[in-house]
């Protein structure tokens, strides 16, 4: 039991580092986009340390950068973060976190750490190991990468001339892409996109994105009939 577990631990650790490195690469784009959207270096870094959830972070800088209000940015970020709470709920029995570990574990409960924990939970020790290794690895690389991107972007005077506004759109699409696993989900995504497009001329920036949640509610209720 101990020996194979040790061997598989090193494999899991290696995978965790690869996931962290890969995620870190887009941390660079987050850092750069945040600074060119008007956040300063420290605000950008605090987003990666504190908010620490890629989609929410891109949403905050995207919405503020496009002239959206503070409330819309906070609400969008938070709605995108609800899923992390559900990840925590499903991981609670596996991780059995106590005291300060609950705080640390909560902070690194994100897509990547959850996916790795679930992928390895046929052996509970290994599942826990996968969660911590991946969460810590992503946290470290993501924050280093954010600092690099944010520092580099301070010298950019005209973000549009570098196409950084298009890069934000591409980043959202790339975050969405792996979730489009079946036709139903693609349809729901398409309808949400059309709604956002149609609402844009009539409501304040930021609201079309929040309104898309109605589509999620509609299809979520219909699904379980």
């Amino acid at each position: 039991m101990n020996i194979p577990s040790h061997a598989s631990r090193s494999i899991v650790t290696r995978n965790a580092v690869s996931v962290g490195l890969a995620t870190g690469l887009y941390g660079i784009s987050f850092g750069a986009l945040a600074v060119t959207s008007g956040f300063n270096f420290f605000q950008t870094q605090v987003l990666s340390l504190g908010l620490f959830s890629g989609a929410s972070q891109f949403a905050v800088v995207g919405i503020i950068g496009a002239g959206g209000g503070s409330i819309a940015a906070i609400a969008t970020s938070s709605l995108l973060g609800v899923r992390n709470g559900f990840y925590a709920l499903s991981l609670a029995n596996l991780l059995k976190l106590k005291s300060y570990k609950k705080v640390l574990g909560a902070q690194i409960t994100i897509d990547e750490s959850t996916a790795m924990a679930v992928a390895n939970n046929n052996d509970e020790d290994l599942g826990r190991w996968a969660f911590w290794a991946t969460g810590i690895s992503v946290f470290v690389f993501w924050n280093i990468a954010t600092a690099i991107g944010a520092f580099g972007a301070q010298f950019v005077t005209d973000p549009k001339s570098l196409g950084l506004d298009a890069a934000v759109a591409a980043a959202f699409l790339a975050l969405l892409w792996p979730r489009l696993s079946n036709l139903r989900i693609r349809t729901v995504a398409l309808i949400a996109g059309i709604l956002a497009f149609a609402l844009t001329p009539f409501v304040q920036p930021g609201i079309p994105v929040l309104a898309s949640v109605l589509i999620a509610i509609f299809y979520g209720i219909r699904e379980k009939k």
Binding site: A22, L25, Y26, I28, S29, Q43, V46, L47, G50, L51, F52, V60, G62, I64, A66, S70, A73, I74, T76, S77, S78, L80, G81, V82, R83, N84, G85, F86, Y87, A88, L89, S90, A92, G105, Q107, T109, G163, A166, A167, A169, A170, L173, A174, L175, I185, A192, G193, L195, A196, F197, T200, F202, P208, V209, S212, V213, I215, A216, Y219, G220
Partner: protein, 103 residues
């Protein structure tokens, strides 16, 4: 400046509360399948809306500009399974080139 700090701190605090709530409350309270499936859809619809808004909106106007070209390139690269960073950089480069040549 101050309102940006508000956004940074408030969104971080709420994000943490959401995460830790899952470890504190018993699972039975949120096991409802409807809530689960709504939650599964939330990131999908919001990311999709964010793609559209970020590509076409300028304040409250709809505009078709270099960003759309960037998005199309991103779409094609994702179909070809290109990694995240390549997708993002390519979209930026293509729309920057377009602006440089035609604006």
């Amino acid at each position: 400046m101050e309102s940006k700090w508000t956004v940074v701190v408030a969104s971080s605090v709420i994000a943490f509360i959401l995460k830790i709530t899952g470890y504190i409350i018993p699972e039975k309270y949120l096991e409802k399948p409807t809530i689960k499936s709504i939650t599964n859809y939330v990131p999908i619809v919001m990311l999709s809306a964010l793609v559209i808004v970020q590509t076409f909106s300028q304040g409250q106007s709809i505009v078709f500009d270099a960003r759309l070209l960037g998005l199309i390139i991103a779409f094609v690269l994702l179909l070809l399974r290109a990694p995240f960073i390549i997708v993002v950089i390519s979209a930026a480069v293509v729309s920057a080139l377009f602006r440089y040549l035609f604006n």
